[in-house]
Each structure stands twice: as C-alpha cells, then as structure tokens.
Amino acid sequence: MKTLARTLAALCLVALGLLAPFAIAAYDYPVADGFVASIVGTPLELQAPLPEEIPLRTRRLPGSGEVPGLFWHQQGLEFSFAKQRGGAPVAFLVAGTGAGHDSAKMKGLARALYGAGFHVVCFSSSTYLNFIVNASSSKLPGFLPDDTRDLYRVMEQAWATLEDEIDAEGFVIAGYSLGGISAAFLARHDESARRFGFSRVLMINPPVDLYSSARLLDSYLEDNVSVRQGGSFLDEVIERIAIAYQPKHGMRLDEDFLYRAYGMLRAEGRPARSLARNPEQALVGLSFRLSSSAMVFAGDVMTRSGYIAPKDKAFGDSESLEYYAWASAQVPFVQYVDELLLPTVMKERPGATREQLLREASLHGIETWLRGNPRVFALSNADEIILAPGELDYMRSVLAERLRVYPRGGHCGNILHRDTVRDIVTVLRGGSLPAGGAGA
C-alpha cells in the first residue's frame, strides 16, 4: 500500500512538473469569440494595474488651412500629453481608424506608459475629423504614405511646443490598429527626416493592408444586415444601451461608447432579439461604417470633389445634413478608396497603378525595412478579425520573434490585459518579447 501511495505521489509530482510550464504560460484572457472580445475588452480583474489619473493635458496647434464654416468647431489640431517630473523617454502614441487622441483606448495606453515612467504624447488618427480638417494636406484620408507625411509634420509641430518643458531621454513610438501600421511608417520616415530617432517601434493589432481590412469590416455590416436595416439594427443597439445608460458615461456614440455599452448589456445577460444574424459582427461593422462615413463626407467637403456633396455647396449654419448623413452611410469604405481616394492620388502620381499604390500603403510596401529592422515589434491575436486569411502568417514570416500572437483577444480586445501591457512596456523599454510567443 505504501509503495502504491509513494508511486502515485511521485507520478503526481512528475505530472505537475510536466504541466508547470504550461501553467505559467497559460493565457487567461477568457473571451473565446474574436468579435465579442473586440467589443467587451478585458475584464477588470485581468487588466494590468494602471494609474487612475494621469496629468493629461490637451493642446491645440494652428491648422494648416482655412476651416470651412461647417466645421467651425474643429478649429485647431488637438493633441494631448502627460509629462513626468524629471527626465524620461518619450512615447508617441497614434490612435486607430477614426479615433481621436483622447479615445478610450488611447487613454488606456497613455495610463499604462505613463505608469511605466514614460512621458506620453497622444496623436489623433489621420482619419479623424479634427485631423482631416486641420492637418491633412490632401484632405482625403486613407492613403498611408501621404497620411504619414502629415502625421509626421504634426509630430514635429507638437514636439516644438513641448521640447522646452519635457526632459526627453530618447523616443519610442507605438499605435493600435491603423495607428499601429502608421507608427511603423512614421518610424521609417523618421530615418530619413532624422528628427526623433525612435529606438523602438510597436504595432498593436495592425492591419497588414488597410484596403483588405476595410473590405472585411464592410462585409461584417453588409453580410449581417441590409443597409436598409442598418438603422433598425442601430436602433436596437441603442435601445439596449439606453437601458444600461448612465449620464456619467457621456454620450459620444463612437466606437468606444457603443462597445462599452453593448459589453455592459452582455455582462447583464440581456436576451438578444436581433435583426442581425451575428449581432457582434454587425456591431463591429456598424461602428466602422459610422466612422468611415464621417471620413467620406469630411474628405468630400474639404476637397470639394463633388462626390456626394455638390462642389460649390456652401453649408449654412442651420442647414439640415440629414441627406448627407444618410448618403455617406451608404458608401462602403472600399468604394470611397476606389472612386475618390485612389483617382486623386493617381493625379499626383501619373503612371502608378492601383495595385502599386495599394501595395505601397500596406506592410508589403515596407517589408524589406521591417525584415531588417530589429527595433520594430508587433502584437496581434490568433483570432484577429481585421486580418484576411494568410495575413497573420505573413506577419509571422516577416517579423519572426519580434511578433507575439496571443491566442485570444480579437481586435484590441486584450489591449489592457496584464500580459499585453507587460509586453508593450517591455518592448518600448528596449526588451524583447517572451520566447515562443510567435507560435501561440
């Protein structure tokens, strides 16, 4: 009996020993569906401990051109920053598609990096209304090489207002989603402009190719709800949101707001009675359409392209924009790229083909630089919803051990998870990602 017990005990120990590495490596982000994860984010108890309040201040730079009366409220380009008391490295952060410098995800990242001792400077996406109006030279957002030059100029101007008051010990740059791929393009641009010398570059859940990601996001809406029903679907989402709504949550009706509100309802286990086959997929598509329609209309008005608004149209103070709100929501983002954006870019670049331009605006366009650059890192998820088949493997082949793929998290759903925040901080401090991470 004794021997049996001893053998069993020994077996148990061996088993434990075998399992231990897995136990340590176990990834506890719980949401199994990539769409749900993108919406609900990380449960509080699994989030990295972040400072509650950081001294973020907003500043306005003079815009680069005249602001049409319709956008009077967007006068001046906004960015925000939080500075440490003494010397520290500076982290530049770039927001994702249609998001501002003060989006919820940006604030989360800013808190994480400020808490880790960085000075933090937050920049809006080049696709955000305030940026399009004040800083876009083409006024048509979405072509990455052009957007990069605009963002870079904004970074230089912003830094010119900060350099006397911030004691900088080097620079790093990071961004999520579209801001992630922007960060890489910006760092590459900086190598010739030689202004900052970013010692680390981090892409968090970047697309490989904005066009292919946009096609996916467009399809999430169109496959689930007809455009006609899009409104009713939003109606239903809002109705559910209203049940859980508290004035303290504000009312921005942007992606972060929709996602958070929808997440709260899911958490309460409210029954779904949805028009959409997959309501989470539809919500992701819908929130992308809300921000892309803003982009399409703003770009059209700013360039006087006569796309959906007449060229010479002067919008009065009290004019109804209902038709334009409705019409620009009918435009899939890829249609805008094909019909308005690329033809405009081609005018500047006669001879360039559509394929050539789309390639230039993707990670493929900077592949050699990415391969040969040990300072560039990326984080992504196995169930990332903005990557087409093969794109994750492509990133693996290009970045190898400089890419970590978490098993779950969807698109940025795990961005505040302790593992993600630890990896973000480690990489930006000059460390490397845990071994084997790329395989997960």
Binding site: G98, A99, L129, I238, M251, R252, I308, S320, E322, E339
Partner: protein
C-alpha cells in the same frame, strides 16, 4: 427662480401646441442635392422609418442654430467657469454642493413618482429627502444611498410620457441642450412647482438679488460640472443627428422602464 417663470410658462404653452400640430407629409430630407451636381447620387429612401433619422424635427433649422449657440457658450463661458470652479473648490466641497442640489430635487422625484402611481419609488424619494436633510446636514451629504435608498429620478416630462403624452418634436433648449416639446413643458412645470415649494427656501436668498444670482450661478455651474456631455466630441460631422437620436431613444426607454 421668479425670473424664470415667464420662460417656463412659454415652454408649457409650446408643449400644449405640440398636441394640436397638424400632421403633414413632408419630404424625407429637407435638402437633397441635384443628381447632376454629384458623382454619386443616392436616391433618398421612401421613408426613414426605423433608422436613426426617424426623429420628428420640424424645428431643425432653429435647433441646429441653438445647438451651435450652446456649443459656443459652452466653450467660451460655461466650461471655463466649470474649470475655474473645479480648480478652486476642494473635491469634498464639490460633492457637497452636488448633493445639496440633488437633495432639493427629491421633492420633484417624490411628486412625479406619486403622479406616476409608483408609491414605492415615491416613498424612497421621500425617505431620501428626510434622511439627507437631517442626517446629511441639509443635503450636503448623501447617507441615504449608503442606507440602500437609491435615487429614483423622475421628472414631469416622464410623468406626461407615462400617461401617454407623445414626445412631440425635438427641441434644443438654450443652455440646457437636447430636449423635446413634451419634456420642455415638463421641465417648465417642474421649475414653476419648485419655485412655489422650494423646500430649502431661505428668506434672505429670495429677497436679496445678489445672493439669488450667486445661488443660481453655483447651481448652474454644478449642473454643468456633473454633466459629462461635451459638444462636438463625437468626431462626426453628423453629431447633431447622432445626439438627437440618442437623446430621443434614451428618453423613450427611461419612460418605458
């Protein structure tokens, strides 16, 4: 409060007018471009029923102007005041001030819960008022919440809604922002009633113009300070439409609840 009464009464009249406003079939969109002027013309749908544009808004031109005025007032006057107030006032004092004004509104909550035949909620509102006025030292503290008496906010607009009065056209009020004819009328009634039954009325405040102005200023700044909403922070050129829709739907759900 006396000076506000004429405005309040005017709002109440407007609200009554809403009921008799004739239903006419207007075009779906107030302004549509000429198809020849644009590269992509989307013929307007026959109806916007079931979309975020399905909000009755015959005063859109006025409302948009008012929205813009409010945003400018916010930026130039209101928010600087709020920032100044927050900077010079210690947090516990701010909370105390907020509690004080919230406590005064318990009388409104009590009345409207009673009018909606929600006796339990009315009792909670009454109990909250008594507890916070006594134990909470005139309403500066909120011990009632800690005792499990959660605020049951109800206003006269909701009471009207409960008894079948429709929302009426959307209306953007000066300084107060998104509302509707019914809710504006409700607000007017609440304000007039509050003027008569102001439970904490201090004789001196009522007679002294300067003191009354100061009291109303603090009240307004406190109200703005505890409202998270900021104009033009959606990053959308269609913010007016989004806010109009969100306000209207949320209000409907509050009333159904």
């Amino acid at each position: 409060m006396k000076t506000l009464k004429p405005i309040a009464l005017a709002l109440a009249c407007l609200s009554a007018c809403a009921a008799v406003r004739a239903e006419e079939s207007a075009p779906v969109f107030a302004s549509v471009p000429d198809p020849a002027d644009v590269r992509r013309f989307y013929p307007p749908p026959a109806s916007v029923e079931g979309t975020i544009l399905a909000v009755d808004d015959p005063f859109e031109a006025f409302n948009r102007r008012m929205y813009r005025f409010n945003a400018q007032f916010d930026r130039r006057v209101f928010l600087p005041l709020v920032d100044g107030y927050r900077a010079i006032t210690p947090d516990p004092v701010e909370t105390g001030v907020s509690n004080f004004f919230a406590n005064l509104l318990e009388v409104r909550n009590l009345a409207n819960n009673a009018l909606q035949l929600h006796p339990e909620d009315a009792l909670v509102s009454g109990a909250r008022f008594m507890v916070n006025t006594t134990l909470g030292i005139g309403g500066l503290f909120d011990p009632a919440t800690r005792l499990g008496l959660i605020e049951r906010k109800e206003d006269f607009g909701q009471t009207l809604g409960r008894w079948g009065v429709g929302a009426g056209p959307y209306l953007v009020l000066p300084l107060l922002g998104p509302s509707g004819l019914r809710d504006a009328g409700g607000l007017a009634v609440d304000m007039v009633a509050n003027g008569y039954y102001d439970p904490m009325d201090l004789e001196g405040v009522r007679d002294d113009t300067a003191a009354r102005a100061g009291y109303n200023l603090v009240k307004g700044v406190d109200a703005r300070s505890s409202t998270v909403f900021r104009y033009y922070r959606t990053g959308s050129p269609f913010e007016y439409v989004l806010v109009r829709y969100a306000y209207t739907r949320m209000r409907e759900v509050e009333i159904e609840r």
